[in-house]
Symmetry: C2
Amino acid sequence: MEFTFLGTSAGTPTRSRNVTGLALAPSGPKPWYLVDCGEGTQHQLLRTRYSVMQLRAIFITHIHGDHTFGLPGLLTSASMLGRTQALDIIAPPQVQRMIQAVIENSDSSLSYPLNYLDSEAADFHWQDDHVAVTNVALSHRVPCRAYVFTERKLERQLLRDKLIKEGIPAGPDWGELQKGQDVLLDDGRLIRSDDYTQVPRLARRLIVAGDNDDPNLLAAASKDCHVLIHEATYTQDVADRVGPWPQHSSAEQVARFAEQAQLPNLVLTHFSCRYQSGHGGAPHINQLAAEAMQHFNGQLFLARDFETYCLNKDLTLTRQDDAAGQQPRPPES
Amino acid sequence: MEFTFLGTSAGTPTRSRNVTGLALAPSGPKPWYLVDCGEGTQHQLLRTRYSVMQLRAIFITHIHGDHTFGLPGLLTSASMLGRTQALDIIAPPQVQRMIQAVIENSDSSLSYPLNYLDSEAADFHWQDDHVAVTNVALSHRVPCRAYVFTERKLERQLLRDKLIKEGIPAGPDWGELQKGQDVLLDDGRLIRSDDYTQVPRLARRLIVAGDNDDPNLLAAASKDCHVLIHEATYTQDVADRVGPWPQHSSAEQVARFAEQAQLPNLVLTHFSCRYQSGHGGAPHINQLAAEAMQHFNGQLFLARDFETYCLNKDLTLTRQDDAAGQQPRPPES
């Protein structure tokens, strides 16, 4: 499972960080899913290997503009490229109203259907062949969700000794069993795949959280979860100065939660644009990392635009080179 | 008068060209005006010297998304920066509905008032201290306008010989006359500025046209006009293949018009993304220039993102270095 950050800035874009968007792919660039779609997401995609033509679904955490204003442009560009495949949009109901109003008032039309699914429905659940997705209600100024992606396509291993011992002959039937299909033998026996195969590893699971001032809401979902991607808009001192109104998390707050939940990997994102990487008077972005490291002993990353991470089958998380090296990384500003 | 291209691609962004936006400034970066606002315009501005804080008015040529989808992000970012000054939005009525729907459905609010002015009103006219703006109806799939910007602040020269001859003493009164103020002398004479000063040059005038398949509609407005900025989406052969439906102009069509109208300067923009600059199989962007040059003998430019042009007081048009050299120019793709 791979994910690529398309934007890591809170609220407004900077010269080196776009507003929020994350591309997630179960294996390779098709199909893939988009979580949040700030303005300029379609522009960022032009510098990755992801195409709107292979996009399967868009998951929106909440309605704020830095997570949604890229939707009209991305959707209409896909139409101009000739997309015909339906696209699922999992989002709060206002997002549908926003998209429809923009389309109506810009003489636009789409060459493919949109399937809107209410992310705030009590029984929310989405899946395709590759992933199963649930969500968790967070605490923000508007309803907001974290999406929990769990891998579905796990390879089965045949229990060869058992098959041989019970006289089930090697051949195409074994192949069917390995694919998870039950098999009716010539002698009339029904052989269940689950009885003659095993899945030798855990399903990979990651959480992509939206804006949130209470990471503890993710406690239950974090069990058996291998990566948490969570906002850390401020350091704690700035969060204290700003006060509770924006309802964002500090790096310390998320790190403390991740430590308590024993999460092996934490990726922080959605940084206030006050944090920079230069030598000027602005607070340095590394302050966020330094603060989080004081409270979290697992593997910690601060996301940057175009960084791609791989959650491997052995459940390790590795950061890859920037997407295809297609552009020089701009200096932080 | 300066103008900087923020986007020069038709329909969808490419890796080197954003969708349409143009910053226009009478002198220096404040105040300035924005003509069209495709998605990502606020991102482009971060690489220029123009700030949304000094933006005086936005002129929208027509409602299509590649000219309007950047509005919600630009407006809300200005609010997050604390803008309080009112902003004029000159646009078709649908733009107001679009902006209001997006703001309502994204929990947004603005810290400053928007003044909407209907660009399609029969008597449309706008002005501030620096420019007077009128518009011209074009021919496109939706109502579309060209905006005609005429300089207002012209320096007066005193008619010194006449002043001396008529016994009007040098002093503060001369200064008032030069500013355009009439003066009541101590001896009771009312001296009119217009009678004792002259404006030694023409007011600079330029046209920024929206999408349009009939450049001849600009014939009257092109008189005494020094620059025409017009779309040239296709070469003529491609326009013929595509057919009339998109209602765009070819380079040949615009060049023929500019020649007939005796326009001294023509800047082409809004190029179909099929035209590229590489050595692959795609048609080269220079085909558009080559075609236009066959039919136009004035000064011709093909716009690129971040290029700044200066319409000088002597009515020459010069292309400056890329905006402040703030970024390496990306390769054309």
